[in-house]
């Protein structure tokens, strides 16, 4: 069941590519992990143990604050964010590595080693960088009051053992698992559809899963990520930009991987084609950020009073 757009490259090139690509990725992860855990002041990483020290986004300015009762608030203030112990974070990492192994093995069988590796590395970089751009832009730029903080205040992940910039590695790996699985599902159910339609269905499949997952995992019991107030539109107690991001990242990455990667390699050869693919990913990161900012500004004008689905009176 190999596909016509398999990238043909020599074993030698695959070996060199793996050493360089995975080597660079591991180097960035080591550096980011050191920065996050041992030099948190450089990127203003919010403390997990002392919630009162949150200066840029005090807990009263977060979405979770509105969802907590007095006892839960007191617990977080005295005990810190739940699930930040070493063992729990190791379990997240272990589970995400297991899922990654499953999807990577499947991709290697159905495409090729290098296509599988480029899906893994490409989606890892694309989503990890996009999350980091949004986290840091919220922290220093919009939430930091430099420009309109109403587009999104900020958000961040408190739980992570290893980090890729400001995104936990387990989150990047989960993006890979979700993106690959959902797009494969779309391909199996609708094999006759063109790529754009399959990418659309894959993105929507992932987004629908997140409609339940996000409200659950951002609850006071889990706090896997924390949203600062900012976005005027909430869906199930979650900023609407989150769901747009879920759909758009998967939709666009699959287009890049399945359409533009083989095209780049055909025109420029394996090495330069791969570099062009990474370049497209980086450019896409900036474009996605710009789209989300513009969309946020438009929504503020369309719904100046804000919009919550379901209404806030439902306690969602």
């Amino acid at each position: 069941m190999s596909h016509a757009y398999n990238v043909s490259a020599s074993v030698d090139f695959d070996r060199k590519f793996s050493i360089i690509a995975f080597g660079l990725l591991i180097a960035v992860i080591i550096f980011s992990t050191y920065l996050h855990h041992f030099q948190p002041h450089i990127l203003n990483v919010p403390s997990n143990t002392n919630v009162a020290s949150w200066k840029m986004t005090p807990i009263e300015h977060t979405w979770i604050y509105d969802r907590m009762n007095a006892a839960e608030l007191e617990k977080v203030k005295t005990q810190g964010i739940p699930g930040t112990d070493f063992f729990t974070m190791l379990v997240y990492l272990g589970l995400s590595l297991f899922g990654t192994y499953l999807c990577f093995s499947h991709a290697k069988k159905h495409y090729s080693y290098r296509m599988a590796a480029l899906f893994l590395i490409g989606s890892f970089i694309f989503t990890g960088l996009q999350e980091t751009l949004m986290i840091l832009s919220g922290r220093f730029w919009m939430g930091g009051g430099q420009i309109d903080p109403n587009v999104w205040g900020s958000y961040w992940f408190p739980q992570g053992l290893l980090w890729f910039f400001e995104t936990p590695v387990w989150v990047c790996l989960c993006w890979f698992i979700i993106a690959y699985s959902c797009v494969w599902v779309a391909k199996q159910v609708f094999p006759a559809l063109p790529l754009w339609s399959r990418a659309l269905i894959g993105g929507l499949t992932a987004m629908v899963i997140d409609l339940w997952e996000d409200p659950v995992l951002t609850s006071p019991e889990h706090m896997k990520w924390i949203w600062a107030k900012g976005d005027h539109i909430g869906i199930l107690g979650i900023p609407h930009g989150n769901f747009l991001g879920w759909f758009f990242l998967i939709f666009w990455f699959v287009i890049l991987w399945e359409k533009y990667l083989p095209l780049c390699e055909k025109r420029r050869g394996a090495g330069k084609g791969t570099l062009a693919f990474v370049g497209l990913i980086l450019i896409s990161n900036i474009i996605v950020l710009a789209i989300l900012i513009i969309e946020g500004h438009i929504m503020i004008r369309v719904f100046p009073q804000g919009l919550h689905i379901p209404p806030l009176s439902w306690d969602w």
């Binding site: 907590m68 839960e72 297991f98 989960c174 699985s181 494969w184 599902v185 159910v189 899963i209 889990h222």
Partner: protein, 80 residues
């Protein structure tokens, strides 16, 4: 059936991983949420996605080569 699935287990890896993701990340985690009535029932919203994943799993199973093929005996499809 199970031996057929086990022999071709790689084909089911994407479904296994997304089911696992959904089961642990959403279902099991929702059982721990205390102060939000209806959070478990909210899972019904994911029915379209779960349905698609299940259809894909069944289609994949149906596409698998028959048991006889592994024993060296040809299926009718193989003739001609």
């Amino acid at each position: 059936m199970w031996s057929k699935i086990w022999k071709n287990r790689v084909e089911f890896y994407p479904y296994a991983s997304i089911y696992l993701f959904w089961f642990l990340g959403s279902f099991v985690s929702s059982l721990r949420v205390q102060n939000r009535p209806g959070i478990v029932a909210l899972g019904l919203i994911t029915i379209p996605s779960i349905l698609l994943i299940t259809i894909a799993t069944i289609k994949t199973y149906r596409k698998l080569p028959g048991e006889l093929r592994h024993s060296g005996v040809c299926d009718a499809d193989d003739v001609g």
